[in-house]
Amino acid sequence: MDWTFWLEWVIKGFVLCLILLTGFAYLTLYERRALARMQVRVGPNRAGYQGLLQPIADAVKLIFKEELTPARVYKVVFVLAPVLTVVPSLVLAAVVPLGTSFNLFGRVITLYVADLNVGVLYLTSIASIAVYGITLAGWSSNNKYAMLGGIRASAQMISYELSLGLCFAIAIVMGNSMNLVDIVNAQSGMWFAVIQPVGALIFLIVTLAEVNRAPFDMPEAEQELTAGFHSEYSGMKFALFFMAEYQKMIVICMIAATLFFGGYREFWFLKDFAGGILSVDRFWFLGPIYLLLKVIVLLFFMIWIRATWPRIRYDRLMSFGWKVLLPLSLVVLFITAAGILLAQELNNQIYFYSIPVLSIISAMVAVALIYRDLRRKSNGRI
Amino acid sequence: MVPVDYYVILSAILFTLGALGVLIRRNPLIIFMSIELMLNAGNLAFVAFGRSYEVAGGQPFYTGQIFVFFVIAVAAAEVAVGLALIVEIFKTKKNINVDEMNSLKG
């Protein structure tokens, strides 16, 4: 372990943080503009060209805003909570591969901070830690609404974490590795989202709940809880929560892209296009670009959903997680594992194709069941 | 270059602190946390011993880690039941002090 190793490590980490921070800033802009478009208005377009300086203006405003610390909060935790929220969202990205490697000064520089053999487990563990910030923020505010928001957040995140873990497991099974680089490389022939579309869908739904995005943003439901867990926060502390949420969105989309959409790799059918001119194996710098594109598309879906869907009632949210997503993801995991095993043992690729078919069938069954249930509850009004 | 003794001593201290917590604290939640600390001390010792055998034998040796894996699973199961119990009694009683659990007399 020479010092250059450490240096490389520090630089990569720093760059990643930088990417995420600016990414966060422009994501807010992106979201506001996109939402505005959907709602047939313009959105922020004054600061700079097309509002490109708007995030900076917001940042300056928040930084200089007065910070109120209510009298009866639990001080230490109150201050700690935003930090605890932001850090996991940053750390989470450490294992996500942004591309292949390139040579610089005679060294092989890989485009990820840490190459963990238990990368996926690392993701789950950090994701599970992320609950603390919100929960503690809610509790330490010493405010009923905030507290309820915190409790809701923790309940929701724990509940959806199970399905999340199972989706990770689906990717692990298909990639035959817990290492994210391995998983990405395993998708060079075919994206996992194609083989296992249901798994990818569940993953996307679950991530929405994990980052408390609409329609699962119960912890901050304005109508019921004013602003939920961050009611009492203002100024920079509030900004940190804000920041964490958007960073998490970015990172989660990166992870989703990595696990199910080929990560930094090109479309599978482009691998041999024009002698592989579009392949990351040929040009390393294509990796980050592909990834960025995928993330932008996925983010757009998140924003789109926010613009389209109303908020789900809390009890429905929980029972959706436990009674629909969890069993469904279990079934899908089983189908995936069984298909792979059969294909391997019997050496017949036909079983491989049964995975998407059976998964889609089971997803449709799930939808049908939900439909029937809702119909019964609403006395046939749907 | 840490001798395995150090890990074992650390785990012994943590175990003792956990046991101490069970003995001196009266809140079932804290008692329960102390028990978790005890289990954790056991886990640490397991991994440390496992590692020492690994180093001594020169080849991977997973028994310790696997035991820890089971302990973690069991702890999760225990927590599920234990917290359910505590929540239940609190719902009935609105107070969870072990000393005040005296409807059973002897």
Binding site: - | M38, T63, I66, M101
Partner: protein, 486 residues
């Protein structure tokens, strides 16, 4: 794993597999059994136990002994014996619960399912020959019991019992885990035979001794040995009586079975250090259990202390565990005593349940006054049980104590035997108080009659008496069970 391996492994856990499968299916089937007819679940659960028992009997007749899953479980005479005992106590437990749950309005199908799972854990305890399995089996048997103890919620007493049992049980688990860790550290393995080899090759290291002592503490909690007994009276009193009956038998059998196997197969090398500890533990348990029982007025608490005391008697069988010659006898004696304890115990709890009223009254000893006039058969049965607990002829308890004390004396511990008999004398005092109340005081107890309850009480009473005259086959079973343990 090759095919033959698979069958060999599978053979060693057939009864377990049957029971687990049955319990899981029952969990589903129970959903379709309408509320108020959960008796069907009880019958199905009993059926499952019977099926398991028949497999055990079949395996006993086949007589093949083997270890499975890389030596993690052992199928031998000892485990078959203990498992049969556990299943019989499960059957008796269901018979007691059947009417009781109905009467107390606690009837839910999960009760029986949890019981089956707990029995699985107990069976596994007896078969375990690796500390991992011991640990997991212990949890598998305990967790359902925690729930069952609190089954009468929102009854506060029951909930308190559940919480206390849980906290102390988990505390004990902590000791077991840490003890296992130290043993693993000392020997590099968790398999009992591996520990035995590692320990016998060199002088036992201190680490091993501490580990074994911590295990002993953990097991001490589980079998309610003094000074780890504090939870017992509260838990026994607070739990629904049917649960207490099952808990006080099943958990004890399993705890002792595991303790026995662990100490006898893994730690003979430590006998010099641990025999004295066991001696003191057994003596303390007998003395404290019996002395504290004297002042009890609640029958459930009294029986709780009495069960502590009996744990002390059974512990005596472990004291000579380092002595190769005496060990088989004393283990067999311990097993025999367990049988007699279980039979008597269930009968006693049956009587307690018969007298317990729906609102949890009828549990004071004074409530037993006049039972002999009201229901002579029940009073006679109770008398038989009390005599059996004292160790008085013509009951199984007497034969059990005779066997046990003989083993202890043969092991060279007459002092312990004397403590044992003197505490039996003390116990006579409080057991007789119940008899006095039933026969010699006036009162008008209300008695619940219910077929399965009566069946349990009467069959155990008859067994207690009849078996005392023909204990040979039980002796034979017990002593052949331990033959190949060592």
């Amino acid at each position: 794993m090759t095919q033959t391996d698979f069958y060999a492994n599978f053979y060693s856990i057939i009864p377990l597999t049957v029971l687990v499968a049955w319990a899981s299916i029952l969990l589903l089937v129970d959903l379709f059994i309408p509320k108020g007819r959960k008796g069907i679940t009880a019958f199905l659960a009993a059926l499952g136990l019977a099926a398991t028992l028949s497999f055990i009997i079949w395996q006993t007749l086949v007589g093949v002994e083997r270890t499975g899953f890389n030596g993690m479980v052992t199928l031998d005479g000892f485990s078959l014996f203990v498992n049969a005992l556990v299943i019989i106590s499960g059957l008796l437990g269901i018979a007691l619960a059947y009417g009781y749950l109905k009467r107390m309005k606690l009837e839910r199908g999960e009760y029986y399912v949890l019981m089956l799972f707990s029995i699985t854990g107990m069976m596994l305890m007896a078969q375990a020959s690796d500390l991992i399995i011991v640990f997991l089996a212990l949890e598998l048997l305990s967790i359902p019991l925690y729930v069952l103890a609190a089954f009468a919620r929102p009854n506060l007493q029951s909930e308190e019992a559940g919480v206390k049992y849980f906290l102390l049980g988990a505390f004990a688990t902590g000791f077991i885990v840490y003890g296992t860790a130290l043993i693993f550290g000392a020997t590099g393995t968790t398999s009992l035979s591996g520990i035995f080899f590692a320990a016998s090759h060199e002088t036992p290291s201190l680490l091993l001794t501490i580990g074994a002592a911590l295990l002993l503490v953990g097991f001490g909690f589980k079998v309610a040995a003094v000074p780890f007994h504090m939870w017992t009276p509260d838990v026994y009193q607070g739990s629904p009586t049917a649960v207490t009956a099952f808990m006080s038998s099943g958990a004890k059998i399993a705890g002792f079975a595991a303790l026995l196997r662990v100490f006898a197969t893994a730690f003979p090398a430590l006998s010099a250090d641990l025999t004295g500890v066991l001696w003191v533990l057994a003596a303390l348990t007998m003395v404290v259990g019996n002395l504290t029982a004297i002042s009890q007025t609640n029958i459930k608490r009294l029986l709780a202390y009495s069960s502590i005391a009996h744990a002390g008697y059974i512990l005596m069988a472990f004291v000579p565990y380092g002595n190769k010659e005496v060990l088989p006898i004393s283990i067999a004696a311990g097993l025999f005593y367990l049988v007699s304890y279980v039979v008597t115990n269930f009968g006693t709890w049956g009587v307690v349940i018969a007298l317990e009223k729906a609102e949890g009254k009828g549990l004071e000893i004074a409530d037993y006054a006049g039972l002999a006039k009201k229901c002579p058969a029940l009073a006679a049965a109770m008398t038989v049980f009390m005599l059996s607990f004292i160790g008085f002829p013509p009951t199984l308890g007497m034969v059990g104590k005779f066997y046990l004390f003989r083993a202890v004396i043969a092991g060279g511990y007459p002092g312990l035997a004397i403590i044992g008999v003197v505490t039996s004398l003390v116990s006579a005092y409080y057991y007789l108080r119940i008899v006095v109340n039933m026969y010699m005081r006036e009162g008008d107890p209300t008695i619940e009659r219910e077929m399965w309850l009566d069946f349990t009480t009467m069959s155990t009473a008859i067994a207690t008496v009849v078996l005392s005259f023909v204990p040979q086959w039980l002796f034979l079973l017990a002593s052949t069970a331990v033959l190949r343990l060592f």
